[in-house]
Symmetry: C2
Subunit: 231 residues, 2 copies
């Protein structure tokens, strides 16, 4: 998928719109991409199937799924079945926030990056739509990069690793525009927090609403596959 | 296990000598201790049984085991069956180093700390005997603490979390001396990188050698249970 040679990169892919765009951007920038997904007890398991499909379509060099039972520690509507996924926005840190999720995901990506001798980790965090998530802010990403270069053999030996967040300042419609220009097929992505087993979206959760608005703002048709009750 | 009230703490316990000592220290300091172990594809699974035994003996408030297949990303003699555990010391970063292991463990501890509203995470890293491991150095721990307080709801809301490393500058014999004073029963701990299913130690790997030397230096008898071939 690459022309120039930028070395290897680990790309976190969730199966959603954002990370599919990041994967396309990393490939276009010339990285050899190794995609990483997590089976972390999330409700919307259709996203794991989407992640694998996207990795194959975009010709990732390799794709791994790491099992990790974050449900054991609880605390989020996305992993704890006793907490309901909300269908209206609220102030502050949302209940769909999974405790330390990006830190855990980046840490495991860091381990794989070390094994691969990769020079970058790509993650689709976004500080515009997810301002309520502490681990989507630029200062958090900068702190992780400092940590990464103290934590690893590569860092100690003077081969620094960069954490790449190409979406961090983009609106949802900007993300979609970039992805379409790079040929991303968004009908294959699943963003919904409570997609059904076929990957059909609810159309009502925060993630569905943000995604739908992105397509509306761009004035193009939304390829998302919704469950029948979505209005 | 506590007199004073220091709040809740997550204590990483591996089943080994160091983390059992840390648990005793955290309890003596007045923390309500919640112990966390990882089933991460390590060869020496007897340590998980030891961790549970130690948590019970020391009356931890709760004990969790998080499954996590670090073997998927490979790269270490401790998780990759195609790499042999060495029986002599070597220069530089050892092959028993698991890529980004402490970062992954601390990240998951951070998630649980957030759910518990804990004020501290205790980890038994040691910069004396493990100088070859980048993620056992004080500057690494400081960077993780900075990250932790940017990553979390508690940090954002002004309730900082501290990463406690009471063993970081202690020799193995100092660690044992502190633990014995606090009543730790080291016969219940398993340190060996390749213990058998009954938890008997090989007596030859780096971890066994360090442990044995600690008891020798103190001039007290070593309660470790060895396999028959250990000299």
């Amino acid at each position: 998928m690459a022309e120039a040679q930028m070395g290897d990169a680990v790309v976190l892919v969730s199966g959603g719109l954002d990370s599919a765009t990041v994967l396309a951007m990393a490939g276009a920038a010339g990285y050899r991409c190794h995609t990483l997904s997590f089976d972390y007890g999330q409700r919307h398991r259709a996203e794991l199937a989407a992640a694998e499909r996207i990795a194959q379509d975009m010709k990732a060099c390799s794709h791994k799924v790491v099992r990790l039972d974050l449900g054991t520690i609880g605390g989020s509507a996305l992993t704890d079945e006793s907490i309901q996924v909300p269908e209206c926005s609220s102030e502050g840190i949302p209940i769909t926030y999974v405790p330390a999720r990006n830190t855990v995901f980046l840490s495991i990506a860091l381990g794989w990056a070390e094994v691969l001798n990769a020079s970058a980790i790509f993650i689709g965090v976004n500080a515009v739509d997810y301002s309520g998530y502490p681990d989507c802010r630029p200062e958090y990403i900068e702190a992780f990069q400092v940590l990464a270069n103290l934590a690893t053999r590569a860092g100690v030996e003077g081969r620094p690793l960069t954490i790449k967040t190409p979406l961090i300042d983009l609106s949802k419609s900007d993300i979609i525009r970039h992805g379409l220009a790079l040929g991303v097929d968004y009908s294959k992505t699943v963003s919904c927090y409570q997609a059904n087993s076929e990957g059909l979206a609810c159309g009502r959760c925060d993630s569905c609403r943000l995604r739908r608005k992105g397509f509306l703002d761009l004035g193009i048709s939304d390829p998302t596959l919704y469950q029948h009750h979505a209005g």
